[in-house]
Symmetry: C2
Subunit: 227 residues, 2 copies
C-alpha cells in the first residue's frame, strides 16, 4: 500500500438529531481528523432498514468539507446514484447485487465528478464482478450483512480482501479496497494485514468517549498492521 | 370544530444537519409553540424520494417532548408502521394506497400506544376508505402529490375535506382531519373553512425568518377562518 490507512466514521452510529455537530467531532486537525465520512443510505427494500437519503446528504454537504462516502444500500441504484454525485458526494458506492448496469453507473458517477464505488455483501463472490470493477475506483467489501450498525465482524470476507489486494498490487485492478462492518480496535489489524486501504467504523468511533481520538487510534493500529 | 387549529411544522423543509435544533425552534411557549412536528418518511418506492426513517425518528424522540406526527410515504406499511409507534411517535399515518390490511395496522398502532392515521393522495377518493377510517384517529388529506416539499396547493382536495368534516360533525366518523401540502398564509384559510383540524406546513414555517411566529400566525389565520 502506498498511502496511510483511511478512516471513515459511519454516521449510522451518530446522533441523527445533530448530524452536523457529529461530523464536526471527527473534523478536527491532524490525526484525529477523519479521512472520509461514511453515510449509510438504506431504503427498507434492499436492506430491512430505512435510514436517510439525498435531502439529508445535501444538508450535510453544506456543513462539512470532509469527503462524504455515500453507501447506497438501495434498490435501483441505476436511477438514484447519480443524484448523490451531482450533489457533491466524494465517493458514491452502489451494490453489485442491486445494480442493473453497473458499468453505466460508474461512468455516470465519474462524469458527475464523483468516485465510483462497488460494494459486495458477505456472501457475494468477488470474481463475479471483476470485469465490472475495472470501471470503479473503490471496492467496498461488506464484513457484516448490510442493514444495521453494531454487528460482529465476519472474518471470512478477508479472503476477498486478500484477492482484491493481490489484483491491485499486480496491476490487474485499480481500486481502493474499503471494508465496512464490525471494524473496531479488535478487528482492524487483521483487516489491515489482509490489505484494506479504507476502514469504515461506526460504533468504534461514535461510541467512544472521544471520537476524534478513536479515529487516530484506529488509524495507528491499521498502519502498524500493514508493515 | 371544538378545538383550536393544530399546526404541525414539517421538518422536510428544515435543516437535516441539525434537526434537534430545528425542532426546538418551534418548541417555545404559548402561541409560537407547534402542536405536532410532522416527520415525512419516504422510501424511494412509494414516492420518488428517500428522506429519513426510524433511526432518525428515534433520535428525534430523545430530544423533544413535542408529539411526533410520522407520515409514512412508504410501501409495505403493514411491516414498518408498528416500529414508529413502539418508538414513541404520537401519531403514525400510513397511506391507504399502500396498506394491505389497514384495519390491522390501525389496531396494532393503537395497541402500541399511538394514534393511527390514514392518508389519501390527491387522486384517491375518500369514499373508498370510509369503512376502514372507522378504525383510525386521523385522516390526512394530501393537497400535493407526496414526495417533495415546496409544491403548490391543490384546492380540489377540499371537496374531500368538506365531506369528511360533514361525516365527523354528524357523528358518522370520528377522526381529526389533517391536511398536508402547499399550506401557507395564502392557502390555510380556505382549508380551515373547509373543515381541517390540523395543518401541516413546511416551507411556510421553516422558510420564515421566525418559524415560531409563523406557527402563531398560521394558527391565527386558521382560527379566524373557522368562525
Amino acid at each position: 500500500m502506498a498511502h496511510r490507512p483511511l478512516i471513515a466514521p459511519s454516521i449510522l452510529s451518530a446522533d441523527f438529531a445533530r448530524l452536523g455537530e457529529e461530523i464536526q467531532v471527527v473534523a478536527g486537525q491532524g490525526d484525529t481528523r477523519a479521512d472520509w465520512v461514511h453515510v449509510d443510505v438504506m431504503d427498507a427494500h434492499f436492506v430491512p432498514n430505512l435510514t436517510l437519503g439525498l435531502p439529508v446528504v445535501q444538508s450535510l454537504l453544506k456543513v462539512t468539507d470532509l469527503p462524504l462516502d455515500c453507501h447506497l444500500m438501495i434498490e435501483n441504484p441505476d436511477r438514484w446514484a447519480i443524484g448523490y454525485a451531482e450533489a457533491g458526494a466524494y465517493n458514491v458506492t452502489v451494490h453489485a447485487e442491486a445494480a442493473k448496469d453497473p458499468v453505466k453507473i460508474a461512468k455516470d458517477l465519474r462524469a458527475a465528478g464523483a468516485k465510483a464505488g462497488l460494494s459486495i455483501k458477505p456472501g457475494t463472490p468477488l470474481e463475479d464482478h471483476l470485469e465490472v470493477l475495472k470501471h470503479y475506483d473503490t471496492l467496498l467489501v461488506m464484513s457484516v450483512e448490510p442493514g444495521f450498525g453494531g454487528q460482529s465482524f465476519i472474518a471470512d470476507v478477508l479472503g476477498k480482501v486478500r484477492a482484491a489486494r493481490r489484483l491491485v498490487d499486480t496491476g490487474h485492478l485499480n481500486v481502493l479496497v474499503e471494508i465496512d462492518g464490525g471494524i473496531n480496535a479488535e478487528t482492524i489489524e487483521q483487516a489491515a494485514e489482509a490489505g484494506v486501504d479504507c476502514f469504515v467504523a461506526g460504533s468504534a468511533v461514535y461510541g467512544a468517549a472521544d471520537p476524534g481520538k478513536a479515529v487516530a487510534a484506529l488509524r495507528d493500529l491499521a498502519a502498524q498492521a500493514q508493515h
